[in-house]
Structures are given as structure tokens and as C-alpha cells.
């Protein structure tokens, strides 16, 4: 319990840190911060709308400290301003829509890769020194050293353009109306397949190597030998004695790799024109839509922190040594 509380406090601090970065960035760049932030507004925004926006981001006529507090207040009341490009769409709404797509794509890809990678790692470690191990290790190296952008583009080229098995972009057929109808859902699945496969390929290698190394590091332990000496089946020892214990450091490294997962998915979304958080950020950067850019950083950080917390929870559940009554 104390462990989880400490983590929560830390995450709060991290979130504030992200907000602080947001606050200082425009003010640290050469030039007038207001100019920089709202240059994209041009003649689109009326004076009063522009002023409201300035208020949200703390550009008030007051010392820096107060400006900072004003901004924090906006953030913690859920006011992230409005998109300049899509005015008057609130940033929160824009990002919420994108978040759904990202969670769907990245969430499912991560779960699949974790399960696949971990299983491969377990088997490679158990069959250490055999050809299976060598092949898995090599594929894992490939998957984690080739940039996600390269994998995405190659997959798009081979399966999208050359073979034509999958569409070349977007979340669903633009002709269809979003609804819980079978044609729409089928279209979503069809469009999501390639980006998801790409992400799975990008992520699996890392999980496999981590699990393999963690397993190998504990294969010499006495309880493993005792498990075999008890006459238990190879599978039982491999899963319940070895893998179950190796899972602990693997899960904790999952937390660290969430950042990599977010980065990889960002690029994948851009390549496949998938309307998730990553692509939204990219489009916002092209349009210099700073309110959205800043809001993006906060949401992504929040997503990171939330995932980290989920991992912390799983760790507490998995390790009996942490389960103090």
C-alpha cells in the first residue's frame, strides 16, 4: 500500500513537471511568447477569443509566479484551451477522440506483443543453446534495432501497396459513417490490421529478449532444480517455477518501455495516417497549433503515468513479497 501511495505522489509530481515544461517552453524561446503560441491564429480569432485563450495559458498581466499558477489552474480544471486550427473545438475534445483510437491500437498491440514476446522468451530460455534460441534471439535483435519508421514504411509498402492486402491508411473507410454496425466495425478491423501488425513486430522483440534474459538469470536457482527433482512435468517447471518468477523483472521493465511503445506508435500512426494521439500531434506540429501540441504533451504524459501505475499494480499483485497484509 505504502509503495503504491508513494508511486502516486511521484506521478503527480511528474505530471506537474510536464505542465511546467509546457509553461516555460514558449517563454524560453527567442521572441515574444504570445506571438509564437498564437501565430497560427492569424485573423481567424476575434479579440475576445484570443484573450480567452491567452488566459488559459497563463499569459496574464502579472508576475511569472502568478502566470504559472494560472496555467496550472487551467490544467487541473481540465481546460486545455481550444485548438487554433479547428477553432472553437476544445483541445480536450479533440484529444479525447484521438485517445480512443490510440488506446485501441496501442493497447491491443502491446497486449499481443507482450504475450507473444514473453512466450517466445520463455521458450528460447528453456531451450537455451538450441537453434530455436538462436533464431528467436536474432529476430528479436532485428525487431528492436530497426527503427519503427522503417518497419512501418516497409510493411506499408509490402502489404499495402505491393500485395494490396490491406488499405493504405486511415482508421476506417472514409465513406462509412461511424456506428456500431458490422460494416463499420469490419472496416475498422481491416484498416487497423496493418498498423497493429507493424506495432506487434516492433514491440515483440524487446519483450522476448527481456524475458529470455530474466529466465536465464534464474535457471540456476535451487527451486528450479527442486521442481525438476520433484518429478513435475517440464512444462510445469518451465511455467510455474521459472517463467512465473522471471515475470516479475519483466513486468517492471514493461513500465520503462511504455515510453518506447508510445514513441513507436506515434510514428506508426503517422505512416498509416491513423487518427490517434500520435498523428494528431504530428498534424498539430505541421499547423503550429500550439494549444493542441501542449495539450498533447500533457495527455501523453498522463497516459504514460496511468500505464505505469497499472504496471505498479500488477507488480504488487504478482509478487507475494510485496503483498503485505
Amino acid at each position: 500500500m505504502a509503495f503504491l501511495l508513494r508511486r502516486l505522489v511521484f506521478y503527480l509530481a511528474a505530471f506537474i513537471a510536464a505542465a511546467t515544461i509546457n509553461f516555460f517552453l514558449p517563454r524560453l524561446m527567442p521572441g515574444d511568447p504570445i506571438q509564437i503560441m498564437f501565430a497560427g491564429a492569424g485573423s481567424n480569432l476575434s479579440m475576445e477569443n484570443l484573450n480567452a485563450l491567452k488566459l488559459t495559458f497563463g499569459f496574464i498581466d502579472a508576475p511569472m509566479g502568478q502566470q504559472y499558477l494560472a496555467y496550472l489552474q487551467s490544467v487541473f480544471t481540465g481546460d486545455l484551451g481550444r485548438s487554433i486550427k479547428y477553432f472553437p473545438l476544445p483541445v480536450t475534445e479533440l484529444l479525447a477522440r484521438a485517445l480512443v483510437w490510440t488506446v485501441g491500437l496501442v493497447g491491443s498491440a502491446t497486449i499481443v506483443s507482450f504475450i507473444l514476446g514473453t512466450l517466445l522468451g520463455v521458450m528460447a530460455a528453456w531451450r537455451r543453446g538450441t537453434r530455436f534460441d538462436a533464431v528467436v534471439s536474432l529476430l528479436a535483435i532485428l525487431s528492436s534495432s530497426v527503427p519503427a519508421v522503417v518497419i512501418s514504411l516497409t510493411m506499408l509498402f509490402v502489404f499495402g501497396y505491393r500485395l494490396g492486402w490491406f488499405p493504405n491508411g486511415y482508421a476506417a473507410d472514409p465513406m462509412l459513417d461511424p456506428a456500431f454496425s458490422w460494416p463499420y466495425i469490419a472496416s475498422v478491423l481491416h484498416h487497423g490490421a496493418l498498423p497493429m501488425l507493424t506495432l506487434v513486430f516492433v514491440l515483440t522483440g524487446g519483450f522476448a529478449v527481456t524475458m529470455r534474459n530474466n529466465m536465464i538469470n534464474l535457471l540456476g536457482e535451487d527451486y528450479i532444480v527442486m521442481g525438476r527433482a520433484k518429478g513435475l512435468s517440464e512444462n510445469r517447471v518451465m511455467l510455474w517455477y521459472a517463467a512465473r518468477n522471471a515475470l516479475l523483472p519483466t513486468v517492471s521493465s514493461l513500465a520503462i518501455s511504455i515510453g518506447t511503445i508510445l514513441s513507436g506508435s506515434l510514428v506508426t500512426e503517422v505512416v498509416f495516417n491513423y487518427p490517434g494521439l500520435g498523428n494528431t500531434l504530428y498534424q498539430a506540429i505541421l499547423a503550429r497549433d500550439y494549444p493542441v501540441i501542449q495539450g498533447q504533451l500533457l495527455i501523453m504524459t498522463a497516459a504514460m503515468l496511468a500505464s505505469n501505475f497499472v504496471v505498479d499494480l500488477s507488480y504488487v499483485l504478482l509478487d507475494p513479497r510485496l503483498k503485505k497484509a
Binding site: G129, E221, D222, Y223, V225, M226, G227, R228, A229, K230, G231, L232, S233, R236, W240, Y241, R244, N245, L318, D319, P320, R321
Partner: protein
């Protein structure tokens, strides 16, 4: 018939260039109910022999052909996968050096009884729990400990639990591989006394491996002395103590610190 009959056992560790002969042509027997001690310095091959009896070795270890390990007349080295798994723990059980590490950290004590009972006898959860309580009773541990995890118990308790798990299937031979070396002397004594009582009650033999010759003489019926992979002397405990035949055995005795208070310099040359 002997419970254990080791004949011409040779075990090598195969490297890419060289081969290390860990055990060289070792033969000995253990009778039913006998307490047999195997003594020698670290690296002399005693643990290697212990592991081989249940065929627990991994590459690059290699049990050379021509070796035979007979448990109750059956050659363990000829068993296939399924027979081997069935044989393990039923006929031969093993206690390792540090009980800290012998128990799986993520399973409860009850689980660790259940998996072996279920695998060998198909026992249900409740039957297994019953049996586990009985076994814990043999080593004076309250049954409520079944729901605990290993890290919640003391070192001595863990060692006793491991012994209890060892006796789950009434094995004929219990191998104790430096099982008390890491414990302090008092706990060590308690455990060994307990083993003695259990032996009288259940009738199993013990293969006791240690480098502590003095301890071994107190406990064993017969003793084997190992040096660099070879069994250099074998005899009753009394014979080994009073009339050691082999040079090395004599050296082992001579190098034991005495409780008589002589300075080493004075006692030299004796």
C-alpha cells in the same frame, strides 16, 4: 537388496576444448535404512553424484556409458522420460543446501505440496491439504503455515518444510546435499536429530553429503571419502574414525581443529 547401488559411475563436464572428469569410476552401495555419509572437499564430486542419482544434470554434464545407478534394482539411467518423472521423488528425494532458495518464492507452501502430490498420485486439493498437514506435523510445524509464502518463514522452518515435502511420497532414499552446512550449529543439530527420529519411524536410507567429517562420523553408519572424483576409502564410521586406511583420510582427520587448546606450532609434526 541395496536401496542404492552405484557401479562404475563416471561423470564428465564437456567443454569445447577440454573435458573435466568430475567423477571417476565410483562404486558404492547403500542398504535399506542405512545412513551413508559421503565426505570430501568442495569440488571433489560428491554433489555431482547426488544430482546424477535423480538425473538432474544439464549439459555440459555427461554421465559416461558403462555407469550404472540402481535404485531398488532398477537402473535409473535406462529409464525413459515418463518413467524418470514418475521415479523422481517417489523413490529418491533431495534436500539442497540452502532452503532459502529451494522453495518457489511465488507459490504458497500448500501449492508446493499439492503440485508434487497431484502429479504423482492425482490427489485432489483437499486430500493434498490433509496429507500436507500430516507431513508438517512430522516436522513440528503448525498446519496454518500452509497458506504462507516462503519469505514469511524463518530459515529453520523452511528447511523443515523442505524435509516434509521430501517425505510426501515415502521415498526409500533421502539425499541431503550439504543440507545443514548453511545453518547455525544448534539448528543443524535439531534437524539431524529429527532426521534420525523420522528414519526410525519411516525406515528410509540417507545419503548425507558434507565436508564436515566430524559431524558425519556422529551420524553415519558407513562413510565414503572422496578425493578429486575418486572414492578413495569406504568403511564403517568407526573404522574411518579409528583406523583410516587412506593417506587422504588421515590428512582430513589431522587437519581438523582440536578442542584441546594446543598451539598449532606445538602440535606440528604429530
Amino acid at each position: 537388496m541395496s536401496v542404492l547401488s552405484v557401479r562404475n559411475l563416471s561423470i564428465d563436464y564437456v567443454g569445447s576444448e577440454t573435458v573435466f572428469h568430475a567423477v571417476r569410476d565410483v562404486s558404492f552401495d547403500i542398504a535399506p535404512g542405512e545412513f551413508f555419509g559421503l565426505a570430501g572437499e568442495s569440488g571433489c564430486g560428491k554433489s555431482t553424484i547426488a544430482f546424477a542419482i535423480s538425473r538432474l544434470h544439464r549439459p555440459p554434464a555427461l554421465i559416461r556409458s558403462g555407469s550404472r545407478i540402481l535404485v531398488d534394482g532398477r537402473d535409473v539411467l535406462e529409464l525413459d522420460e515418463a518413467e524418470l518423472r514418475s521415479f523422481r521423488w517417489r523413490e529418491v528425494a533431495m534436500v539442497f543446501q540452502s532452503a532459502m532458495n529451494s522453495l518457489n518464492p511465488v507459490l504458497t507452501i500448500e501449492d508446493q505440496f499439492h503440485d508434487v502430490l497431484n502429479t504423482h498420485t492425482g490427489m485432489s486439493r483437499s486430500a493434498a491439504r490433509q496429507r500436507a498437514s500430516e507431513l508438517l506435523g512430522l516436522v513440528d510445524i503448525p498446519a496454518d503455515r500452509l497458506n504462507a509464502y516462503p519469505h514469511q518463514l524463518s530459515g529453520g522452518m523452511r528447511q523443515r518444510i523442505v524435509i516434509a515435502i521430501c517425505l510426501a511420497l515415502n521415498p526409500k532414499l533421502l539425499i541431503m546435499d550439504e543440507a545443514t552446512t548453511a545453518l547455525d550449529v544448534v539448528v543443524q543439530r535439531e534437524i539431524l536429530q529429527r532426521i534420525h527420529q523420522l528414519r526410525q519411524k519411516l525406515g528410509f536410507s540417507v545419503l548425507f553429503i558434507t565436508h564436515d567429517l566430524a559431524l558425519m562420523v556422529q551420524m553415519s553408519d558407513r562413510i565414503g571419502i572422496m578425493l578429486e572424483g575418486e572414492l578413495v576409502e569406504i568403511g564403517t564410521a568407526q573404522a574411518i574414525y579409528h583406523a583410516p586406511q587412506h593417506d587422504y583420510t588421515r590428512k582430513l582427520w589431522a587437519s581438523l581443529p582440536r578442542l584441546t587448546g594446543e598451539q598449532i606450532a606445538e602440535g606440528a609434526g604429530q
